[in-house]
């Protein structure tokens, strides 16, 4: 299977594109892919148009675009980081392996059901303090727009593994995102008393 393009790649624009550039790119792509203009390959046109539309809907939404940007960076960790155990820690090793098994189930369920997947990562984290499990919980929280919970999860991952550049950057990026979004929602649309 070909690698799935991210929304920017699909619209052939840079992540820094302005709203006008997003809209222009969307309009050109629509002419290129829409079934009305591709009567000879309706299935392909349907799928491409559907992808382009959902990319545009997210990138043109000032609330959803920053979250999407964040999610391009903070993707699901698929394999938990390895840990070494001494002969005196065999009990911990067993727990670690049990947690890894639950972790794997969580990864498998991610596409099917975010709720089920979250549950597995929570269980995994309950068995053994896996930094990657709590990190993945954060990723799912972001997916469901729970930013506060996500922040706590990422901070926890960073606390467990303070050497990780990646965890530290995730926390920074999310802090940035939350500031940006507070600013955006600070000027809500006036609803003229409707």
């Amino acid at each position: 299977m070909a690698k799935k393009l991210n929304h920017y790649e699909l619209l052939e624009i840079f992540p820094a594109a302005t709203q006008d550039e997003v809209e222009n790119a969307f309009q050109s792509m629509l002419y290129k892919y829409h079934p009305d203009h591709n009567p000879d390959k309706p299935d392909w046109a349907h799928e491409k148009t559907s992808e382009v539309v959902s990319a545009y809907k997210i990138l043109s939404d000032p609330q959803r675009r920053p979250i999407y940007n964040f999610l391009i960076f903070a993707t699901l960790r698929e394999i938990p980081s390895e840990e070494k155990f001494s002969i005196f820690q065999m009990g911990d090793k067993k727990k670690y392996e049990e947690a890894c098994a639950l972790f794997k189930e969580g990864v498998d369920l991610y596409e099917t059901s975010k709720t089920q997947s979250l549950l597995k990562f929570q269980q995994s984290f309950g068995v053994y303090r896996l930094a990657d499990a709590v990190y993945n919980m954060g990723v799912i929280y972001i997916n469901t727009n729970k930013k506060q919970e996500a922040m706590r999860a990422f901070q926890e991952a960073f606390k467990i593994n303070p050497e990780s550049q990646f965890f530290s950057r995730t926390v920074d990026k999310l802090t940035e995102l939350m500031k940006e979004m507070d600013k955006a929602s600070g000027q809500p649309k006036q609803n003229e008393g409707r």
Binding site: E23, N24, Q27, L30, Y31, H34, P35, D36, H37, P39, A45, H46, E47, T49, S50, V53, S54, K57, E111, T112, S113, K189, Q190, N191, E192, R194
Partner: protein
């Protein structure tokens, strides 16, 4: 490539348009009228009449004259809207085996798509006579608020009539397409479409030739008919007060009242008062009674105000869904015959705080837009594109009967959403998926579309199967469900049991039966011509306009040319 006509298949009237050499043309019917009543009559002598001829004999033959069939397309007999309508129509309805509505006329049972097909056959025939060549393809419009079953039923009607329905488009969107706004420039418009039986409101964003619908809302049971009914009720009550005779049980009287009410309503759009006279409407103890009364515009507005006000709710919903306030709208466009009423225009102006735009012909705009879309599909127009939305959320029945949404209402179409399914018990071989359309939290309160059985799941432990199910809504607003086994990449077998509608073989049979019945029973001078006749005529015919058109038809063609040149 053969020609594609655009058809506005209306509740009360239908209209046909076509783009010819870049010019928009409304095709007049065989009597020279630019719209055709959506009425089908079965006479006791055994012939079928469609259009003006059917409408003219309606008063004498109310039980066998079928009108407003659009209200029953894709509907269940037990739907509450149907229950209300049954009281108002003089012809007989009954449930089919699957619960769909059927019409009974002169002992024969017809499905609503068959009746609609007769209207379409008439429109097709008139177009062929006018264009002097066979017509086999059409774009047909439906209210934006038509659900999947209603759209399928419309498509079936086309098939039965021998028309390939190349696209179903939404009426308000079609109207927008027909407008002469410069779609290259950015602007936001509202289409307020109040027709004979349905109300639709859509908000569109125009730019670069793309007509992007932002939101849509409406009421499938709100239209001109409701205004007429309010007048009828008023007249009946008034008559009862004076004569103590209830006209409600007299079908012929009701039909005469309906005609009189509609006429009075139309005239009161320009006059301040009208006189309504219905001679011999009833017989009392002391002889025949006449209904004679004066109706003023003030009175009319008083009795229909609540109906007009019912359009406000959907308008506000559409604005909210598009996240717009009235001041951000550039134009409010009126479509549908009922928007000619001054009261309706006042309501529109109040809602949007803006003078409505009156540049579109409310009776013809939808057909004109359908014709334009036909031209896009033919490939003649390359710089216009329609991006519509679905008016309903699509979802599944999940545990406890809860409706879980997959595609939200007001999502752009075409759209595809996938969902992953797995086996919940070991070696489970099939999964049942029940698909619904609607907004209510419980699945059972929404409209069931159909049941999909995912079959042949490879045996394995619970949770090991990975079947991805794709939910598509195509550009017609029609739903398709398909499945793929993620492990093998193979298309997964799916058994679809639609909750309503006609099967493919039923449609084929109807196409044959109705085709035969129709050509046999159409009155002699309206006999269908075989396609080759047109080709012969065309090769014989003079350049430009067909020779044998009467002066009235010619006049209407020139009208169109004049209009376009203005």
């Amino acid at each position: 490539m053969s020609k594609i006509i655009g058809i506005d298949l209306g509740t009360t009237n239908s209209c046909v348009g076509i783009m010819e050499d870049g010019r928009l043309l409304i095709i007049p019917n065989d009597e020279g009228f630019r719209t055709t009543p959506s009425v089908v009559a079965f006479t006791k002598e055994g012939s079928i009449l469609v259009g003006n001829a059917a409408k003219r004999q309606q008063i004498m033959n109310p039980e066998n004259t079928v009108f407003s069939i659009k209200r029953f397309m894709g509907r269940k007999y037990t739907d509450k809207e149907v229950a209300n309508d049954i009281k108002l129509i003089p012809y007989k309805l009954q449930p089919a085996d699957n619960g769909d509505v059927r019409v009974e006329v002169l002992g024969r049972i017809y499905s609503p798509p068959e009746i609609s097909a007769m209207v379409l056959m008439k429109l097709k025939k008139d177009s062929e006579n006018y264009l002097h060549e066979p017509v086999e393809k059409a774009v047909i419009t439906v209210p934006a608020y038509f659900n999947d079953s209603q759209r399928q039923a419309t498509k079936d009607a086309g098939k039965i009539a021998g028309l390939e329905v190349v696209r179903i488009i939404n009426e308000p969107t079609a109207a927008a397409l027909s407008s002469d706004f410069d779609s290259k420039n950015k602007m936001k418009i509202v289409i307020y479409d109040l027709g004979g039986g349905t109300f639709d409101v859509s908000i569109l964003k125009l730019g670069k030739g793309i007509f992007e619908v932002m939101s849509t809302s409406g009421d499938t049971h709100l239209g001109g008919d409701d205004f007429d009914q309010a007048i009828i009720d008023y007249l009946i009550d008034d008559f009862y007060k004076q004569e103590h005779i209830d006209l409600r049980n007299d079908r012929v009287a009701l039909q005469r009242l309906k005609d009189a009410a509609e006429k009075a309503k139309i005239n009161l759009s320009t006059l301040d008062s009208v006189e309504i006279t219905l001679q011999f409407i009833a017989v009392g103890k002391d002889g025949p009674k006449h209904l004679q009364t004066i109706l003023t515009r003030d009175q009319l507005e008083h009795i229909t105000k609540d109906i007009a006000e019912r359009t406000a709710g959907p308008c506000e919903k559409a604005l909210d869904a598009a996240n717009l306030k009235p001041s951000e709208i550039d134009e409010v466009v009126l479509v549908g015959g009922q928007t000619k009423m001054p009261l309706v225009r006042n309501v529109v102006q109040r809602i949007f705080r803006k003078e409505p735009y009156l540049g579109l012909n409310p009776d013809e705009a939808v057909a004109a837009g359908a014709a334009k879309q036909a031209s896009v599909l033919k490939g003649d127009i390359r710089d216009i594109l329609l991006l519509d939305v679905t008016a309903f959320s699509l979802g599944l029945k999940t545990e406890g009967g809860i409706f879980s949404k997959i595609i939200d209402k007001n999502s752009s179409i075409p759209t595809r959403k996938s969902d992953m399914y797995t086996n919940t018990i070991d070696n489970q071989s099939f999964v049942r998926i029940e698909v619904y359309q609607g907004e209510k939290p419980m699945a059972a309160d929404n409209k069931m579309i159909g049941t999909f059985d995912l079959m042949g799941i490879p045996p394995g432990k619970a949770g090991t199967a990975k079947i991805s199910v794709m939910f598509d809504i195509d550009a017609n607003g029609i739903i398709k469900v398909s499945a793929k086994d993620e492990a093998t990449g193979k298309e997964q077998a799916i058994k679809i049991t639609p909750d309503s509608g006609l099967s493919g073989s039923e449609v084929d049979k109807m196409k044959k039966d109705i085709g035969e019945e129709f050509s046999k029973k159409m009155s002699a001078n309206e006999k269908l011509k075989a396609p080759q006749d047109y080709r012969e005529e065309k090769s014989k015919g003079a350049e430009g306009l067909p020779g044998e058109l009467d002066s009235r038809k010619k006049a209407s063609i020139f009208d169109i040319f004049k209009k376009k040149e203005r």
